[in-house]
């Protein structure tokens, strides 16, 4: 096992440029859990924790919220301003593991780990977040909904580091988060869903039903066109083009697809009665 501890951001970027196999680590709540199963010699870590001041917690302006690479779930939970501006961030954060995990785990780490079940990515994507990547060559800003290209595969190049996440402040008409796990807390999502309607339109984002957290674009389009759904089966058929759930140790493909369509159907029935 090798752990590098840069003291400045420049040093971190130099290290990443020199060794593309380095794995950035912030709270360690994903990397160290999977550590158990691996040969420890294989770990090659870039420990970002000394950069907390530079990659600091958060900044809320009139136009956007910016979370640093080391901002934890708890930093959001503990900020009344952020909680009030982006309520679903706090709602999702409170359902990530236990409070010990919430105080260590970071939003950027959640993006970097790329789990299809990530709760943080789910709400960030629904709020139309962008990911700010930096390398020695400079900055790039990538919309989170174009960040993933496959299971645990992203557009980030090995020499790039996630240094911040930016979320636009918009007026929202609807916002709803629902997580289904095996119990009411300390659980990994079997199906997660966020629905947001803001001035730019509908965003419906789901987790644990595809190789990565993704938008349901066909379903969003149907909402935009004012489609009326007769029952949940109709939603399920439409979702077939958006999601690709699988059977695994936590649930089944059929359960995930069925529950997702029922949750959406009844949410629409309660919140947009004209559509169902």
């Amino acid at each position: 096992m090798r752990v590098l501890r840069p003291t400045t951001l420049n040093e971190a970027l130099e290290m990443l440029a020199a060794d593309g196999a380095l794995r950035p680590i912030a709270g360690g709540t994903d990397v160290l859990v999977s550590w158990h199963d691996q040969s420890k010699d294989d770990l090659n870590l870039l420990d970002l924790s000394p950069l907390r001041d530079r990659l600091g917690p958060l900044q809320l302006t009139d136009d956007f919220l910016e979370l640093g690479a080391l901002t934890t779930y708890y930093d959001v939970i503990a900020s009344p301003e952020v909680t009030s501006a982006f309520p679903l961030l706090a709602e999702a954060a409170r359902q990530v593991g236990a409070i010990q995990i919430q105080t260590r785990g970071t939003w950027a780490g959640n993006i970097g780990n790329g789990s299809p079940a990530a709760d943080g990515v789910l709400v960030l994507m629904a709020y139309d977040a962008t990911v700010i990547l930096q390398s020695q060559a400079g900055f790039t800003e990538v919309p989170l909904d174009r960040y993933y290209i496959g299971y645990k595969q992203t557009v980030r190049r090995p020499e790039q580091l996630i240094i911040a996440i930016r979320i636009p402040r918009r007026r929202r008409e609807h916002e709803w988060f629902h997580k289904v796990g095996a119990r009411s807390a300390l659980t990994i999502s079997k199906v997660g869903i966020v629905v947001v309607k803001d001035e730019q339109g509908w965003r419906v984002v789901v987790n644990s039903v595809a190789p990565f957290v993704c938008r349901c674009r066909a379903f969003e389009k149907a909402l935009t066109n004012g489609k009326v759904f007769q029952d949940s089966k109709e939603i399920r058929q439409l979702l077939d083009t958006d999601i690709a759930p699988i059977d695994d140790i936590r649930s089944t493909a059929r359960y995930r697809a069925t529950v997702l369509s029922k949750l959406l159907y009844f949410w629409l029935a309660e919140n947009l009665p004209q559509t169902s």
């Binding site: 040969s39 119990r183 059929r254 359960y255 029922k262």
Partner: protein
């Protein structure tokens, strides 16, 4: 009087402060860390064990079956459980080789560097599947144990019965999930083999060590370390782990500690037996039970271990707390190529009582009688007999318990409210369900006679008292209530009574801490030993309190250097008669009785069932410590709700695949309802101040109460647990892919 008072638990403060020293907290100079190489598949011939030459094996202590000095057997009912596989493996994760090293890091590397090559053979995973000759591994049919209980003539009654109701019920396995994983330390001291660890039954471990090492009981010493939960999981398995640690320690000539991590513990150690129960019941037009045929199959895993007695308790409880004149119960424990299933709170009774309590609701539905009324008509009345012919005359009013539970639940009112709610709500469905059940305290039949438990109560020179038994504290409160019983009998303050650490060099063999026997059997013996102590000191004026303390001091002044010891040994009361051959008679000296009621809300969007209210009313004889007793009931109910709804042991190749706390969902506080606990107290002559057993009872009722509530909410019949949301979806949606 300390019995009946809320005495704070004697081990509470240390646990709260984190200062209790569990086995893995002990710092032992020169200790080696031991680990286990396990079989990679369910069944086959061991071809070769490949040790990676990149590792310097000379640094390691390596043990296999050839290092076992005596029989390669863990002493239990049939002695068929091997300490280490030899020649073949019979379940995945079967221990084959043990290794130990000073460095835990090097141990872990080495464990990854051993590969076992197996020539696969066909394995059995379904205890009810068809058997071909190559699948036979025990006798000529893989049946480890058969039990038949006969009463009356059911066959004749079925021919004329107005109604015959059939049903089949399945219960899944369950992981104990004690907080402290299995752990054991072995070393030599003063010429003796010493084993310390997390365990329920120190003398079971003594038996395992003397049998396998061919030693006398004097040559081994077993000490229980503070035990962070057990639930039956530390009844049988510690015998295996103790043998493993001792084999390594004896070969190394150094202390060896084996501590399982959570994954190894969940994947390799024992679990609850999966159960399959079929009912066929003859009922008259009023819903009275005329005849019952009950067929019980338990999946026992690859070795006999404790399965015959789990099956026995399961069968004896299979007809429920009801009166029926004609009964046939047939039970079988069958081999599969899974790790042996073992002791788990309830010990077979939760499986069979899930079945009978679901079946009562099925009968009620069929006959159009209310579930509560059907039970009221059939509950045992004074003078009637159980399935084994035991006359029920302990004075408990079972109908009264049912009626009080209904009142506490506001049962009738809730049923009306639920019906209205369910008509109006788009996707939430509510229901309420009942379970009436019982649990026998102590070993079955003549088991307590065979154990012949002995306890001591010592008077110390300063006038204080020490209680010496092999009973273990594992979180359930045994140390506190045993001290309470002795303090109560001698009229002393609790501060005057201490309870000895179970150390077989110091305490007598009072049997295992299992079977809901500690309060009743050991408590009663401690009263007798207290009386014996008093009879040796002849206190003046009074046989309690200060007079006893003064007399103890005076005795020591008169007998310097001698031990003042009150003794008691179990003798079966002449009123208890059991015929082991015919399975007839008094199966248990006393039973605890209960009615539980669960209220649920099912979300038809997600198929998630939430238990929203829970009433637990039970009659357990005298309640020794109300706070501890309430804790026992609430913990058991939580464990029962988990078993009913979310705790799914996913089996792959016969072993638990989801061996992580994140993927095996025990309920958290947010998943549980308020658990409202109430007691009735009908003293039994066989327990101290009338106390009976309590530990297992609350595991028997929650699953059927919860599932009956779900069935009431949805108007359907569900006969298998755990009822995960996925299973409920399949049940409701069928094959229609909607």
């Amino acid at each position: 009087m300390s019995v009946g008072s809320d005495i704070p638990r004697v081990d509470g403060l240390d646990k709260l402060r984190g200062s209790t020293t569990y086995i893995d907290d002990l710092v032992i100079p020169g200790v080696l860390h031991g680990g286990t190489i396990r079989g990679p598949i369910a069944r086959g011939k061991i071809r070769r064990i490949h040790f990676d030459p990149a590792i310097n094996w000379n640094e390691f202590v390596v043990v296999d079956h050839r290092d076992i000095p005596g029989p390669n057997e863990i002493a239990m009912i049939e002695n068929d459980w091997r300490a280490l596989a030899a020649g073949d493996v019979r379940h995945k994760h079967e221990p084959i080789v043990l290794i130990a090293h000073r460095s835990i890091r090097k141990l872990r590397e080495a464990l990854r560097a051993v590969r076992v090559e197996i020539e696969p053979r066909p394995a059995v995973f379904n205890p009810r599947g068809a058997l071909t000759p190559e699948l036979i591994q025990h006798g000529d049919d893989n049946v480890f144990k058969r039990i038949d209980i006969h009463k009356g003539d059911p066959a004749a009654v079925f021919k004329q019965a107005p109604h015959v109701v059939e049903g089949e019920y399945h219960t899944g396995s369950q992981e104990h999930l004690y907080l402290e994983t299995q752990g054991m330390l072995a070393y030599r001291q003063d010429g003796r083999l010493v084993v310390r660890g997390s365990m329920q039954c120190p003398y079971f471990v003594v038996n395992a060590l003397t049998h396998l090492f061919q030693k006398t009981a004097d040559e081994v010493r077993v000490i229980q370390s503070p035990t962070g939960g057990a639930f039956g999981g530390k009844e049988d398995y510690p015998s295996l782990l103790a043998v493993h640690a001792a084999l390594l320690a004896e070969k190394a000539g150094a202390p060896v500690k084996i501590i399982y991590d959570r994954r190894e513990d969940m994947a390799a150690s024992t679990k609850r037996h999966p159960g399959y129960v079929r009912h066929r019941t003859a009922v008259d037009n009023d819903g009275r039970l005329m005849a019952m045929e009950i067929d019980v199959v338990l999946d026992a895993g690859a070795y006999v271990t404790l399965s015959p007695v789990v099956l026995s308790r399961g069968c004896i409880h299979a007809a429920g707390p009801y009166y029926c004149e004609n009964v046939h119960i047939h039970g079988e424990a069958r081999l599969t190529n899974s790790p042996p299933y073992g002791a788990f709170r309830g010990f077979g009774a939760p499986q069979t009582q899930f079945a009978v309590e679901r079946h009562m609701d099925v009968i009620a539905e069929r006959l159009g009688i209310q579930p509560a009324e059907l039970r009221r008509r059939n509950l045992l009345r004074d003078g009637q007999t159980t399935a084994t012919g035991q006359v029920f005359r302990d004075g408990t009013d079972l109908v009264g318990i049912l009626d009080r539970a209904l009142e506490l639940t506001a049962y009738d009112e809730k049923r009306k409210q639920h019906a209205a709610h369910n008509r109006a709500h788009p996707y939430l469905r509510r229901g309420v369900g009942l379970a009436c059940f019982f649990h026998g305290a102590g070993f079955t039949g003549s088991g307590e006679t065979d154990l012949a438990s002995e306890v001591w109560v010592d008077g110390l020179p300063d006038g204080r008292i020490e209680v010496l038994t092999a009973q273990t504290e594992m979180g359930q409160g045994a140390a506190t209530i045993l001290a309470q019983i002795v303090a109560d009998r001698l009229g002393l303050d609790m501060s005057q009574v201490s309870v000895a650490t179970p150390d077989t060099a110091r305490v007598p063999n009072s049997g295992p801490t299992v079977a809901s026997r500690t309060s009743m059997v050991i408590g009663k013996l401690l009263q007798q030993a207290s009386d014996d102590l008093v009879s040796r000191i002849n206190p003046t004026g009074s046989t309690t309190g200060k007079a006893v303390r003064d007399a103890i001091r005076a005795w020591h002044v008169a007998n310097p250097g001698k031990k003042l010891r009150g003794r008691a040994k179990y003798h079966q009361p002449p009123t208890i008669n059991w015929d082991e051959e015919q399975y007839r008679g008094d199966a248990y000296a006393a039973y605890a009785w209960a009615t539980h009621a669960a209220e649920v809300e099912v979300d038809l969007r997600t198929y998630v069932t939430r238990v929203t209210d829970y009433v637990a009313l039970q009659e357990v004889g005298k309640v020794i410590n109300p706070t501890l007793a309430t804790g026992q009931i609430q913990g058991g109910v939580a464990q029962g709700i988990g078993w009913a709804l979310s705790e799914e042991v996913v089996l792959e190749d016969g072993v638990m695949a989801n061996s992580q706390m994140s993927n095996y969902a025990i309920p958290v506080a947010g998943d549980l309802p308020p658990i409202r606990v109430y007691f009735e107290e009908q003293p039994t002559p066989y327990g101290p101040r009338g106390a009976k057993g309590i530990g297992e009872l609350p595991m028997d009722g929650p699953a059927p109460a919860v599932i009956n509530a779900v069935c009431a909410a949805l108007g359907t019949s569900i006969n298998a647990i755990p009822l995960t949301p996925e299973r409920l979806m399949e049940h409701l949606e069928g094959d229609d892919d909607g």
